[in-house]
């Protein structure tokens, strides 16, 4: 019996970006976005688990130079899953699309691109099956973000750009994408020819791009091709809109080389469809559109809209990161208080998670919070609605509400912090009172 080398159906690329929206958590002295803990597990482990359950075996993690060491360490030494992971490092400030172009030669099949901050309860095959059965150029996941519980959500409020997403109501084709800031402010306008092809079009401003895409192989050639000509920084802002538009605009598709890229892909891999049809007794499907002399776009984009009851969130901003932690803390089936090194008279709420080797002093109370490992919490401390990462020290009589305390930082006694982010290794002097502040070491970059 001979074994043939298994050709994977999809390769996966995890984009481990910097996390601009998460400053100061992702500063050099803390950790890169991919490693930020969600219920004391790095974020990236969730995508890895997701990919593993989808049946993908080969994963490329694309990391920026900064943070690549820590991430590399995690993937090499700590990660315990079955995936075959290789890491590629690109320069800081490289966009997602450019990063793809850089790893062009490593991709041989259709591929999944996922951002390292996406956490979803979506069962992978639901999305992948859509891609398999409909055979589009790209399948993108869209979701409607949950309304946060509001309040205590850090100091930096990043305003999300509203995106208008138009999806054909009958076949989930993604036909329109626009960001509010590229539009004329007060008019929403569409070509009628588009509506003739897609008579039912659902337009939503609630849906957001989840940064989870399944692409055809040739798209990466296209990206490389176009990025030679001009910058093609981001998948969301450049590649996807280009593909969506190429569905309807022949001139654009020709000019940007989309048509050429498809033709090259078909020439390189004729596929078995034709052979199958020639052997089959069924009539080949009539190519109605071509017979009408109409231009048929080589591109189709599909949107998978996540059902509302399925959880999905992106930890790309501090408020979102908060929400995710809160959500996963609620549902986690981990041992919530493994150390149990807390004293009598301490209160730990049921919706908390405490890491290993964490000590909590007398008369302290922890509610709705996630506490990392090796954290030392003093006496009479109150922690509400906060995230405390590993190795932090919180001294006596401290009040913390709505804060994120990064790795190895220290909050000295009698401080009161509300809605603050404390950077990695930062020391909050005693009796500090702060509200809505980012407490970080100033660093000369």
């Amino acid at each position: 019996m001979s074994y043939r080398k298994r050709v994977p159906e999809f390769q996966a690329v995890i984009m481990a970006g910097y996390g601009n929206g998460l400053y100061p958590l992702t500063e050099e002295n803390n950790m890169p976005k991919a490693l930020l803990p969600v219920v004391n597990q790095p974020m990236i482990s969730y995508q890895l688990a997701w990919l593993e359950s989808s049946g993908v075996t080969d994963v490329i993690v694309v990391s920026l130079t900064s943070g690549s060491k820590k991430l590399g360490h995690y993937l090499d030494r700590v990660y315990e899953g079955q995936l075959h992971i290789s890491m590629e490092v690109v320069d800081d400030n490289t966009g997602t699309a450019d990063a793809l172009a850089a790893i062009k030669d490593k991709i041989n099949t259709d591929f999944i691109v996922i951002s390292c901050d996406l956490l979803t309860a979506l069962i992978p095959h639901q999305l992948l099956d859509m891609h398999r059965s409909e055979d589009p150029t790209v399948t993108a996941l869209f979701f409607e973000p949950l309304k946060g519980e509001g309040g205590a959500s850090g100091s930096s409020k990043v305003k999300e750009v509203t995106q208008y997403v138009g999806i054909d109501g009958s076949n989930s084709q993604l036909i329109y994408l626009n960001n509010s800031d590229d539009m004329d402010s007060d008019e929403f306008s569409l070509r009628l020819s588009l509506l003739e092809k897609h008579p039912v079009m659902n337009v939503s401003r609630l849906l957001q791009d989840a940064h989870l895409y399944v692409f055809k192989r040739w798209v990466i050639d296209l990206i490389a091709e176009v990025s030679n000509k001009r910058t093609m920084a981001s998948i969301k802002e450049h590649v996807l809109p280009l593909l969506v538009k190429s569905q309807h605009q022949r001139v654009l598709a020709d000019r940007e080389g989309v048509t050429k890229a498809v033709e090259a892909a078909i020439a390189a891999n004729p596929g078995t469809q034709k052979l199958a049809l020639s052997l089959s007794t069924t009539q080949p499907p009539e190519n109605e559109e071509a017979s009408a002399g109409e231009w048929k776009s080589p591109v189709t984009c599909k949107a998978f809209v996540l059902p509302k009851e399925v959880y999905c969130a992106r930890g790309n901003t501090i408020p979102n990161y908060f929400e995710i932690n809160r959500y996963y803390t609620k549902i986690t089936d981990k041992d919530r208080n493994p150390g149990a090194t807390s004293q009598v008279q301490t209160q730990v709420g049921a919706d908390c998670l405490i890491g290993d080797d964490t000590r909590i002093g007398e008369r302290s109370s922890v509610k709705k919070s996630t506490i990392g490992s090796h954290v030392t919490i003093g006496k009479n401390v109150k922690i509400v609605n906060s995230i405390v990462m590993d190795h932090a020290i919180i001294e006596d009589n401290v009040r913390i509400e709505g804060c994120i305390i990064c790795n190895g930082s220290k909050v000295c006694e009698k401080s009161t912090l509300k809605d603050c982010e404390v950077g990695g290794g930062f020391r909050v002097e005693k009796e500090t009172t702060a509200r809505n502040e980012q407490l970080v070491d100033f660093q000369e970059q």
């Binding site: 109501g169 929403f188 509506l195 008579p199 401003r205 609630l206 022949r250």
Partner: protein
């Protein structure tokens, strides 16, 4: 406005208002002599279908609002009312010019005191309205500002029961069933504005998820509250219920009213809006899509149709000769006789008609008391009551033959003719005597061809003549291709030049050659107006599914051929005279810059083609170019574009020399123009 307490009581009589008039001229000249709602559709007056539809919906009281030919409508309604349990009233108002006027009149008369159903007198539908009414009432209970519920039927954009050129686009909120935006869609989108759907961004503030629908047939069945007529009175400029009223309500922040919709999908609903729709709906009725409203359910008291195999409906008293062939989809009314060897297919024939021998009738609608004598051919046309076709008459497709017209023997009525017996001056009530036009109806005929009132209705808005054409009878076949044609026309046809001759099969091209040559010849000989000639040529273009490039390729040489270089001034054939007379026709075939450049290539080739000798050809070319420039058929940029293109340097020797002829002009142009070439084309503007 009446007090609101009265509105809500559910014990009230369900009322409906039928607008019997359509306020347009699409069925002229037939509607000059009778009311639109009385036109027979499968031998039953149109309004009977509407009555039937409302009766099924449980309407107890109907107000029929009529303007033109109100006496006839009144008489009919009186007759109909006898056999119906509905109370039917007629309201006559001669002054009404629009739906808006009718609604204001309704408000003034204060006849309505509850929610009512508003329909037009040409609706054919088998839907039930109970759910819609229930929904509407529930909504009214909850929210007084929900003033209207539109019933919309789902059907794909190319559905045949969808009126071409009367499309509409709705933006809906599926969660609240609210209509957020309405926009009419034209068949030919000549302006950029026509080609786009545009709505206010602020809609998204309240409705984050909307649905844009282009697959709904709007047959104007509305459940209105009593505020609707009142709103028409308040806004006295509202004319159309959709374009003005719905649009006005939806865009107004002050009124704070909302309009809702109800979507139906498994029922039939359509409006006889145009002759094209008349055709489509007739076929639907024959094919029983409208069941139970089909001929054999005998809506009229005296009818007694039998339903036979092959969708043939026949009255008992019909006399068919032994050898006549009744193919499928035919309705034949009482006492009609059909003689030997005649062939009928896809047609409706009224009562008391006499059809001679060897007659071929296809796709035609022949009303009552029509006589068609031997050897006639009738295609895809409507022939009204009392008309007579003498022997060997051919009626081409798309004709409307009005009441009592007589077409003399051996006459061919050209396609899309409209014949009437009414005298020319219709405004004048004195009996202007009819002057028959023997050119149209033959020597022994009676009638004249009817000219549509020239653009009288378009003072505020420019109506593309093409949009008027598309909803005509028999235009439906080519319409699909047409639309794409129109979209691609100016941009892509120029690119495809050169290769098109291989792509096209030879026959249609030759056919088009011949037809255009004939049309031009006729135009030259009979001295047609430019507009008429252009219209005819456009018709040809649509009929042959051709594009403007093909037209230019034929028309430009056609016009040039008419020039006689040796002619004397005053003979009408010199270069100048011919161009002054017929140049505008070329202009009609040229629309944008690509067209202009294309036109110049054709001109270059045509001049060289007509006169191989450069000295002759340049006498033709130079003035023509000059003329094109002077009257702005081609603009500077296009001339320069043409001159500098590679293609103009190629071709035969004469062609190349002709380019040189243009050199002085180009120099002049280049001097006088400051180049501004920052017009980089916006990628969004290029249509596919």
């Amino acid at each position: 406005m009446p007090p609101k307490e009265r509105v809500e009581s559910s014990e009230q009589v369900l009322q409906a208002v039928i607008l019997a008039d359509s306020f347009d001229e699409r069925f002229q000249p037939i509607t000059l002599e009778t009311a639109r709602c009385l036109l027979p559709l499968c031998n039953v007056p149109l309004i009977s279908y509407t009555f039937e539809f409302l009766a099924v919906a449980g309407v107890q009281e109907i107000f029929v609002f009529c303007c033109s030919h109100s006496d006839k409508v009144k008489a009919f309604v009186k007759q109909y009312g006898k056999s119906s349990n509905m109370k039917i009233h007629t309201i006559v108002s001669q002054e009404c010019m629009s739906v808006g006027d009718a609604m204001r009149e309704l408000d003034a008369k204060q006849l309505i005191d509850t929610d009512f159903i508003l329909v037009t007198g040409d609706v054919v539908s088998n839907m039930k309205l109970d759910k819609v009414l229930e929904e509407h009432r529930a909504r009214r209970q909850a929210d007084k500002s929900a003033i209207m519920t539109m019933v919309l039927k789902k059907a794909s954009p190319q559905h045949r029961s969808r009126a071409v050129g009367d499309g509409s686009l709705f933006v809906l909120d599926q969660s609240s069933k609210e209509c957020l935006h309405y926009q009419p869609v034209k068949a030919f989108k000549s302006t950029r504005q026509d080609r786009r759907m545009t709505m206010g961004m602020e809609i998204f503030d309240k409705h984050p998820e909307v649905q844009i629908r282009n697959d709904l047939i709007d047959c104007q069945v509305d459940i209105c509250s009593v505020e609707v007529p009142a709103l028409f009175t308040e806004n006295f400029d509202y004319q159309d219920i959709r374009a003005d009223f719905v649009h006005g309500i939806l865009t107004s922040d002050l009124l704070g009213k909302t309009i809702h919709f109800h979507e139906v999908s498994d029922v039939y609903a359509a409006r006889v809006r145009s002759t094209q729709m008349y055709d489509a709906i007739s076929k639907d009725i024959i094919s029983r899509w409208t069941f139970p409203m089909v001929p054999d359910s005998n809506l009229q008291p005296d009818d007694c149709y039998e339903f036979r195999r092959g969708l043939v409906y026949k009255e008992r008293s019909v006399v068919l000769s032994r050898t006549c062939v009744v193919e499928e989809k035919v309705v034949i009314g009482a006492n009609t006789q059909i003689a030997e060897n005649s062939v009928l297919s896809n047609c409706v024939i009224g009562k008391n008609c006499i059809i001679g021998a060897n007659v071929k009738i296809d796709n035609a609608y022949i009303w009552d008391n029509v006589t068609i004598k031997d050897n006639c051919v009738v295609q895809h046309s409507i022939i009204a009551n009392g008309a007579v076709l003498e022997q060997e008459v051919t009626i081409s497709k798309g004709c409307l033959i009005s009441f009592n017209v007589i077409v003399g023997a051996n006459t061919t009525v050209p396609a899309y003719s409209r014949l009437t017996t009414l005298a020319e001056d219709e405004d004048d009530d004195s009996d202007a005597t009819l002057i028959s036009d023997p050119a149209v109806v033959g020597a022994t005929g009676r009638g004249r061809s009817f000219k549509e009132a020239e653009v009288s209705d378009s003072e505020d808005e420019e109506v593309d003549p093409k949009n008027k054409l598309v909803n005509r009878l028999a235009f439906d076949l080519s319409i699909l291709e047409l639309e794409h044609q129109a979209l691609n026309d100016s941009a892509s046809d120029f690119e495809s030049e050169g290769s098109d001759s291989e792509v096209d099969t030879v026959n249609p091209a030759e056919e088009l050659d011949r037809e255009i040559a004939q049309t031009l010849e006729r135009a030259f000989k009979e001295g047609h107006d430019i507009d008429i000639a252009a219209l005819e040529l456009n018709t040809l273009r649509m009929a042959s599914n051709s594009n403007f490039h093909e037209m230019r390729k034929r028309i430009i040489p056609g016009v040039l051929r008419n020039i006689d270089l040796t002619a004397k001034v005053g003979s009408g054939n010199t270069v100048k005279e011919v161009l002054a007379r017929w140049g505008p026709l070329i202009g009609k075939m040229i629309h944008d810059e690509a067209d202009q450049v294309d036109g110049l290539f054709i001109l270059q080739r045509a001049c060289a083609g007509l006169h191989g000798d450069i000295s002759q050809a340049q006498k033709l070319f130079a003035p023509a170019l000059r003329y094109f420039y002077d009257v702005d058929i081609t603009e500077e940029d296009s001339i320069l574009g043409w001159y500098h293109s590679e293609k103009s340097r190629q071709g035969t020797e004469t062609e190349r020399k002709l380019r040189d002829v243009a050199t002085p002009m180009i120099e002049f142009l280049e001097q006088s123009s400051e180049d501004d070439e920052d017009d980089e084309d916006d990628e969004d503007d290029e249509d596919e």
